[in-house]
Amino acid sequence: MVPLSWYLALSAVLFTIGAVGVFVKRNVISIFMCIELMLNAVNLTLIAFSSFYREVSGQLFVFIVMTVAAAEAGVGLALVIAVFRNRESLNTDDINLLKL
């Protein structure tokens, strides 16, 4: 039997790596992927608690988080394409203005 704290520790490590990635990466798509990593770390926490407490709500939250992440990825990548068409760059230092 794997203790609960191991799952939570794995989740914390993955979340920290994702948070560091958001600050370190300079490419918009890479930053997006780090956000997905953080979402997955939180999903692991929710599923671990749900499984240890035998309560289904946590897994339903994860289900909804996954659909919201899919929507976020769709809209976010459409924005990336629109930005790239106008700026010819995905570096966050080049797209620090909302104005065209």
């Binding site: 794997v2 794995l10 780090c34």
Partner: protein
Amino acid sequence: MMEQAFFLILATLAVGAALSVIIQRSPLYSAFSLIGVFACLAGTYIMLKAQFLGAIQMIVYAGAIMVLFVFVIMLLNIRKEETALDKYRYLWLLSIPFAATLIVEVLYTILKVTSDFTSLPEMAKRPEVGDSQSIGYGLYTGYLMPFELTSILILLAIVGSVILARREKD
């Protein structure tokens, strides 16, 4: 014992792949590493007896969302991250203590809080959750409203992304 060894293998692979996500310069390699993280997490979900979400993780995340990422990366033909952080070298050095503080803080809290977590006897008597039956029952009874709102959100996201990515007519 077997279970713990299996968890440790999965956790090591997941952390290694996650580090690879942020170390790789090329977004394409980052995306492939991220698929590895998702596969390892699907394994841990199955170890937690959340089989349905493990399958959804592979089908929706690794299958659909990451294919979308790879598709956009290849469409835009991004070679690698230009001009790393040479300008901001000192920020790199600054980021290490901050990340260390965050991880130590979170791990300390987790170990402190969960050291007195014991599986209560009434919890063990409850039925297992995580199969498609319990998830479906929950979604269509107590969580019907969020479920329907999520479907509206998905519809809005489809329309929004089509409008955003459309080429402007002159």
